[in-house]
Every structure is written in C-alpha cells, then in structure tokens.
C-alpha cells in the first residue's frame, strides 16, 4: 500500500498492511525549519515555505501523511482577529484578549475569506504538495470548527459565559460560523486534500460531555454529511465523557489526547469511528527518550488504535530522533507480529 492508501483505509477502518503513522496536527520543529530553510512565522504565511516544511513529516520523519496547516489561526486571521505572529521558536496565536465580536449581530464573515493571505496560503500549499507528491502520501488539511472560531472571535471567557447565560444566542452563533468550517474545508478538498482535521476545542478542562452533546454533536454530524472527505475531529484533553457522542457523528476519526487511555477509548468508540493518537507531547515526545516514545506507540498498537500520531501539534523543540522513533516502532511492532 502507498502511504495515502494506508491512511485513507485506516480512516475507514478497512484492512491495512500496517498501522499508518499520521499527523492530523503539526510535526514541524525548529530543526526541520532549518533543514529546509522554512522558519516560522513565514512558514505559516508563504505557501512554498509552508509546503516545504510540511513535507519533511513524510520525507524526513517517515510519517504517512503531510499536514501543512501548522497553526490554528489561519481562518481567524482572515476573519480579522489580531494575531501575535511570534518568532521561529513559538506559535502564532490569536490575541483573544482583544475579541473582534461581542454578539451574534457582530458576526461579519468577510467576502475575501478564502482569498485572504492566510487562508489562500493553505490552499496553495496543499496544491503544491499534491503536485509534488501525487498520490503517494496522504495530504491532510485543517478547517477549524465553530466552537474554536468562537473562542478566537469572542474570547474564551466571554463565549463560555454566553453559553451559560444565553444558550439560544450561542447556538445561533455556532450555526452562523459553521459556513466558515465548511467553505474552507471544501476549498482544501478542491486544492487536493485527502482528509481534513477539524479541531473544535470543546476541551475536557472547560467543557463537559453534556455540553458537547448539547452544542456540537449535531453540528459535527452536519459537517460529516456536507464535507466530502474523511474528517478527523480533534479535541484536546480528557474527552472520554464525550467519545460516545463523537462516535455518533459519522466523522471518520477522532484525534485523541494522551489524557485518555488507548484501551478505554477504543472500548467506548468500538468500530464506529477510527482513533488517531495519542503519543503524549510535553512529557514524552518533548522531554523523554526514544524508548519512552516507543512504549506509548506500542500501547496504542496493542489497543488497536487505527492510526498512530502525536496527540496534538508537537512542541517546536521536539527532537527529530523522538519523532522518527514513532514510525520505526510501528514497523518493528508489525514485523514482530508477523
């Protein structure tokens, strides 16, 4: 199987020759930036640099996928949020202390949403990668969900308070923002993406499983119906309490955090949705050695997790050796099994 075939089959829970190593979120590091002369923040804004840096996940690390959308701010920048672009060694972030909207009526989706520098950069980077790598590797795009977009545009605290005080307005806001998720997603598919990561940060620390069911499950079902490629839902944190609802959405996969054990997560979702994950970032990939990385990879493989991946965007200072230990361990595990 090619890497692309392997990833797409695993996303549909079909047989694979070995478990694919996937990155629904970024595997960019400062050393890889040097290797291909594509540093942050430029690699988030210039399509050639974005494509070049993203390709290293496949060419240098040995992953089965390429994911060029390193950050979570591309659409928010196009919406008018203020962005802290930072330097090579840090992530661009939205200045959420300076929200651009306060209520439903303020929402104004610009007509240039898909031609803005920071969204068109993603589309062009995907086109470049598709041209360069053809069908040998899975190209994964990213379109942010409405809950995450609402955090960026309204501010985390304000939006969460609104969700308590005014559920109706909250639902109407999410409903209005969903077109951004769909339109940007479809544009990436047209540009050549095989699958899309859909981060929607109803994270375990701030939002309950019941909240997910009330506000997001039906929206996510709608995304699965309207977006014409496999979707990998990404939510950080302890999410075991909402995995049942997530499994009902019809999405292809759930990218899960290391706060959830692989075996307990598999028990909840069964065969209804693939799981992608869940190598711990701060404690394992960033701070420990290849042996510790391998242990976590094996836990996922033993549990039957369909695609092995870091749990989230990896820290930019992560060592190349630890990242390369992921595909090596997967290969070794399958070799030993066969």
């Amino acid at each position: 199987m090619t890497s692309q075939e392997r990833v797409l089959a695993a996303l549909q829970r079909q047989p694979v020759d070995r478990t694919p190593v996937c990155n629904p979120t970024s595997v960019a590091t400062v050393e890889l930036m040097d290797l291909v002369d594509a540093p942050f923040p430029q690699a988030n804004r210039e399509p050639e640099l974005m494509a070049r840096l993203a390709a290293t996940g496949y060419t240098e690390l040995g992953f089965d996928s390429i994911m060029p959308v390193f950050s979570i701010i591309q659409e928010s920048s196009a919406l008018g949020c203020r962005i802290q672009w930072e330097q090579k060694d840090n992530w661009p972030t939205v200045r959420m202390a300076e929200p651009i909207w306060k209520n439903l009526d303020d929402i104004d989706i610009p007509s240039d949403l898909l031609t803005h520098q920071d969204t068109s950069c993603v589309l062009e980077a995907i086109s470049i990668l598709r041209r360069e790598y053809g069908d040998e590797v899975a190209i994964i795009g990213k379109t942010m969900g409405p809950w995450s977009l609402a955090y960026h545009c309204f501010g985390v605290e304000a939006f969460l308070l609104m969700s308590l005080d005014d559920p109706d307005q909250t639902k109407r806001i999410l409903d209005k923002l969903k077109s951004i998720t769909v339109d940007f997603g479809l544009a990436q598919i047209e540009a050549g993406a095989d699958a899309l990561t859909l981060p929607d940060h109803a994270t375990g620390d701030l939002v309950s499983g019941e909240y997910y069911q009330r506000y997001l499950r039906d929206l996510h079902i709608e995304f699965a119906e309207r977006i014409t490629c496999p979707i990998i839902l990404h939510i950080c944190g302890r999410t075991i309490d909402r995995m049942e609802y997530i499994a009902q959405t019809g999405m292809a996969a759930f990218h899960f955090d290391s706060k959830n054990r692989p075996d307990e997560s598999m028990d909840v979702v069964g065969e209804r949705i693939s799981l992608v994950g869940n190598i711990n970032n701060p404690e394992t990939l960033f701070s420990k050695d290849e042996e510790a990385v391998a242990e976590e990879v094996v836990k996922n493989l033993d549990a039957g997790v369909q695609l092995v991946a870091p749990e989230c965007a990896i820290p930019l200072q992560t060592s190349i050796e630890n990242l390369r230990a992921i595909p090596r361990t997967v290969r070794d595990w399958h070799r030993a099994k066969n």
Binding site: L35, D37, S71, V156, L206, L316, Q317
Partner: protein, 223 residues
C-alpha cells in the same frame, strides 16, 4: 539539504542562535569507537553555519576545558571520561551566548558577589574538590550565607556533591566544599559555573521559560 542521520541523543538545544541568523543549534551525545563524544550540530545550510558551529565548539573547549575526542571529527569530551551532563549543557548554552567578537578565555575562580559586595573565591583542593570562601568587608556577616548560596549553586549546576575535606581534623562534612564525582579537577568548568551560581533561580526560570516556548496550548488555555 543536509540529510538526517543518526547523530546520537540530543541533550540540549538553542532554538534561535542570536549570533547567527537565528539558526537552531543542538548538542548531541554520541557513542563513538573512541568513547562518548559531544557533537554540536545544526541542520541549517546557510553559508557560514559550519563556521558558527566551529566557533561554538571552540568556545566550549575553552570555557569548559573540553578536549577533542581522538579519531573523531570535531567531537569533544571531558578528558576525565565522565559525562558531567548538566555542566556540559550549561557550557554549551554559555558558548552559544558568548559574544563572538570577545576574546575567549576561561573564567576565573573568583567573582564579585553583587548581593553582598563580597569577593567569592573558589580554591582547588585537588582530586576534583573545591572550597568556596568569601572575603572582603562584611559588617552584616553575610559571608557564610553567601558561601552557602554559591555552594548550592555549584551543586545544582554542576551535579557536584558535598564533600568532607581530608585536611579537616575531624573529617566531617563541611558546608563549603564540593567535588566532582570523577575525582578530577575542572577549574575552567567551575569558573564558568561560578558566574551563574549566585542566582540559580534565574537559570531555572530561564530553562522553564525556554521549555514552555514552542508548546501549543488549546485556545481554552491561552490568554
């Protein structure tokens, strides 16, 4: 493009080298036929990057008295054969910070303690042992406390240990003597660590801040 090859275990990283185009520079520990060696490496292909790496190795060699590992290309080691892991990482970080236009020289075994105004001196006692003492006008009797602070700093930065000094009549553990486990003298390294020993908390804060940079938080965890 520089190919990625197995170059050992990365033990320290400077994500942006302020003295050369913000390239990323890392320190690797490598197993070689001649023993464990230290490799300073960058993946940058910029013109001058290799020379910058050479300059950092040169600075480490002087600042911490590292020697070339025989039979290897620009791998260095401590002649005592020990890793001195924390100390060598500090030496690497200091070498990367070192202003290239300044002349390279080992740090003296004495500093002016800014908190007390006292002079702190470290005397080599042989066999890797050092005694810390304070001198100067000390109306507030700060000397013993400041010596204790410096000793703690050396213990933490250099993975040194407290020792009892044989010259002492009772052979009790003293509060002012430290030693490297290898039993060898490392005067340059102690001089280097001494510069930072008065304020280890600042070093720890700097390390924590560096480690936190580049880690993406969920929007709910961002400010």
């Amino acid at each position: 493009m520089t190919p990625i090859s197995d170059i050992g275990t990365r033990i320290e990283l400077v994500p942006m080298d302020g003295h050369f185009h913000d390239i990323t520079v890392a320190l690797y520990r490598q197993a070689t036929a001649a023993g464990a060696g230290l490799l300073v490496h960058t993946y940058s292909n910029l013109d001058g990057a290799a020379e910058r790496i050479d300059a950092i190795v040169d600075a480490m060699a002087v600042l911490a008295e590292l020697a070339d590992l025989p039979g290897t290309a620009r791998r260095v080691h401590f002649p005592c054969g020990e890793d001195h892991d924390l100390a060598v990482r500090r030496a690497f970080l200091e070498a990367c910070k070192f202003e290239p236009s300044e002349p390279l020289a080992t740090a003296p075994l004495t500093i002016r303690d800014r908190k007390s105004g006292l002079t702190i001196e470290v005397d080599g006692l042989g066999e890797g042992q050092y005694r810390v003492r304070a001198s100067g006008d000390d109306p507030e009797q700060q000397g013993p406390r400041r010596v204790g602070v410096i000793v703690n700093g050396l213990l933490k930065l250099g993975q040194m240990r407290r020792v009892s000094v044989a010259a002492s009549a009772t052979d009790v553990v003293t509060e002012d003597c430290v030693a490297f486990a290898c039993g060898c003298s490392h005067d340059a390294l102690v001089g280097l660590l001494l510069q930072r020993a008065p304020n280890v908390r600042a070093i720890v804060r700097e390390q924590e801040a560096m480690a936190a940079r580049g880690t993406l938080s969920a929007p709910s965890a961002q400010s």
